[in-house]
Subunit: 390 residues, 2 copies
DNA sequence: GTGAAAGCGCTAACAA
DNA sequence: TTGTTAGCGCTTTCAC
């Protein structure tokens, strides 16, 4: 009697093992072709029979998966995966199978799920770029170059704009971390010691490079000394004795390095250096230009914190009939493209943006490869480009 | 005898049930604190004991998961998930538990995995933006506005730059589909009927809006007629009889609509309209400007396909001492910001970019909500902004 | 050369 | 109020 019990029990046990939903599904999936509603009804039937969780079964998603391919070809998901991941694995797949799988993938319009892959691999091959804005020439160029550079290294770039708000910057950061980017390029400066995210990233040795600033992580910045010195020398050569410097005050971190470099150079050369401040908008610069014309006692040359503001300043001077470079000499900073075609074209202290981007991406990639990489701070020299405005 | 067999078998069966790796892991995980290497060794031990797959266990990932929180608080993953997803669900969690969970999440620096969530929800709350470039004023403004708009609707924007290459555009598209974006904003024009991706998206009724073009999906474009007509009227009022139109030839689709609108308007008004072509770079426009000065028989006013090229053209004219607007009148198209501060400031036919972006995001969101939404084609009127260049 | 199955982190239906 | 469990789509180890 017990023997019978035993046998029945064994049978049931076997059954229950082989009735594991995943296994049933595999079997059934292999039987039918890729018609979503058949899949749907089958799952539903299984669900009714075995009380399977129906959650997202209810919303039929049309995306094709490796299972659909497997079913069509008559192999298992594993085989399909091996074929599609390039098969660099030691496991070999027969050419017949491989071709069938590839064909099926094409026929069914298969797009591998990035998320599934990210989940299992723990890597996303995506970098994040935290940036204040992307609609000004300098930053859009930066973003553009960064995306290009990342792509050339086999990564994607996830751009995240902070609109220069500290709060938003931390949000962006959270977002990037939730998205599990492999590394981050920082082109803003809110993240500083003491902020929770900062400490976390520091502690995790998270692959980060700071671009244009330096507040604790590896950084890549412009060295303003050579450029500013060339500018001062150039202006001195032209007979200027008093040099103005226009700072857009919201970007203190940006402006200060430049200002300090200029002041040092002026001091060295015995030139007067006068700092003027305005808001970091082109309209403010324009206003500053207009105001400048009202004083008879103004510097004969002004270096402006950015090309963008320089163009505003020139415009403001022009509004008051003070022309550049005859009435006053203007030099911008950054070396953006729009200084080339402006009238007058802009003499500028150019940053090597491409090289900065390249170096910072490289730092991040190195840190991805090895989190123990020591901190690096790279300075990239600026240089004067002489055009018409000074 | 068989009874003993039976009992042993039952025991073994029970054991095997309770030794399901996931269950063991849960139990053990709840016992220890969040120390990655302990986790690692435990898994490894289990692995040795039960021959568990060690795959990614080998690369200890430091990311904190809901399991870590659950373990710390002493509840299950499900509870944690309920707390963290906002608990809008009917299930209620005691305040004690909730607080403990939230605290633990903060203490452990928990960042929910976007990918895991995307996988299970089938939604990413991410839109893709396919765009040709982001370093020119018009497109960087477009990208910027699109990101802002998406964000205000609770979505993120994944920007994907095609560098105006058809091939690259299709790659970008694949990328976005692999990343399972919920919808796509198209600001380029390579995707046309016949292309595999096009047919696929069409068939899937994938949420797409075409911005600036119209090749088969819902679209949002500028209506150039009013703006061009205003421009023609304005120029006519100033006594111009021959109007030139400068097209950057690579953007035929862009240029043609504008040209056709202008030609129609000129015909209506009895004005001559002369089309000049150049490459779509600012340098080419500059060259075109220089060339224009060489002919005595040139139009007295030129409308340029974009502000960007207009600035190049003005610069080219300026190089040859033909000044704007005295020597020749120039009108740009697009209404980008840098026309405001240029010298002379640029008269332009402005697009309402913000509204275009808003409408197209809305279309995409509507299609996400309901794929059966019929196709929509929205035209947004342009208008003349008079400044100094004409 | 291919199949079986576990696991990545999370959600949600159902059970208790 | 909380726990249990299946499943999202994919990779990879192990076994045959």
């Amino acid at each position: 009697m017990s023997t019978i019990f035993f046998l029945i029990y064994m049978f049931l046990n076997m059954l229950s093992t082989y009735l594991k939903p995943e296994i049933i599904r595999n079997r059934i999936n292999n039987t039918f072709d890729n018609i979503a509603y058949i899949r749907y009804y089958i799952r539903k039937l299984i669900g009714q029979a075995k009380s399977i969780n129906l959650q997202s079964t209810l919303s039929i998603d049309m995306a094709v998966t490796i299972r659909d391919i497997a079913r069509r070809v008559g192999v298992t998901k594993a085989t399909v995966s091996l074929v599609l991941t390039g098969g660099k694995s030691s496991v070999r797949i027969s050419d017949t199978t491989r071709n069938k799988v590839l064909e099926a993938a094409k026929a069914l319009n298969y797009f591998p799920s990035f998320h599934a892959r990210a989940l299992v691999k723990g890597r996303t091959f995506t970098l994040g770029l935290v940036i204040g804005e992307i609609h000004s020439p300098y930053y859009s160029e930066l973003a553009s170059l960064a995306m290009e550079e990342a792509e050339s290294q086999g990564y994607h770039m996830l751009v995240s704009v902070t609109r220069w708000s500290v709060e938003k910057e931390l949000e962006c950061l959270d977002m990037l971390l939730r998205r599990r980017v492999d590394g981050i390029l920082f082109a803003t400066a809110a993240l500083r010691p003491g902020v929770r995210q900062f400490d976390y990233l520091q502690e995790q040795k998270f692959p980060i490079a700071h671009l244009g600033f330096s507040t604790g992580f590896s950084s890549v910045r412009s060295d303003w000394e050579p450029g500013m010195d060339q500018a001062a020398e150039y202006l001195q050569g032209k007979g200027h004795r008093r040099i103005g410097f226009l700072v857009g005050s919201d970007f203190e971190l940006v402006g200060d390095e430049r200002r300090i470099a200029l002041e040092a150079s002026c001091a060295k050369r015995g030139l007067a250096c006068e700092v003027v401040r305005c808001s970091p908008t082109i309209e403010a610069a324009r206003l500053a230009g207009a105001q400048m014309t009202r004083s008879n006692d103004r510097p004969s040359a002004v270096i402006v914190q950015s090309d963008h503001l320089a163009i505003g300043l020139i415009r403001g001077l022009h509004d008051q009939a003070v022309h550049v470079p005859d009435g006053i000499s203007i030099i911008g900073c950054d070396g953006t493209r729009d200084g080339e075609s402006s009238i007058p074209s802009l003499t500028t202290i150019a940053q090597d943006l491409r090289r900065q981007v390249r170096e910072s991406v490289e730092i991040v990639l190195q840190m991805i490869a090895n989190r123990e990489m020591p901190r690096k701070d790279i300075l990239i020299p600026t240089k004067l480009i002489v055009r018409d405005s000074a």
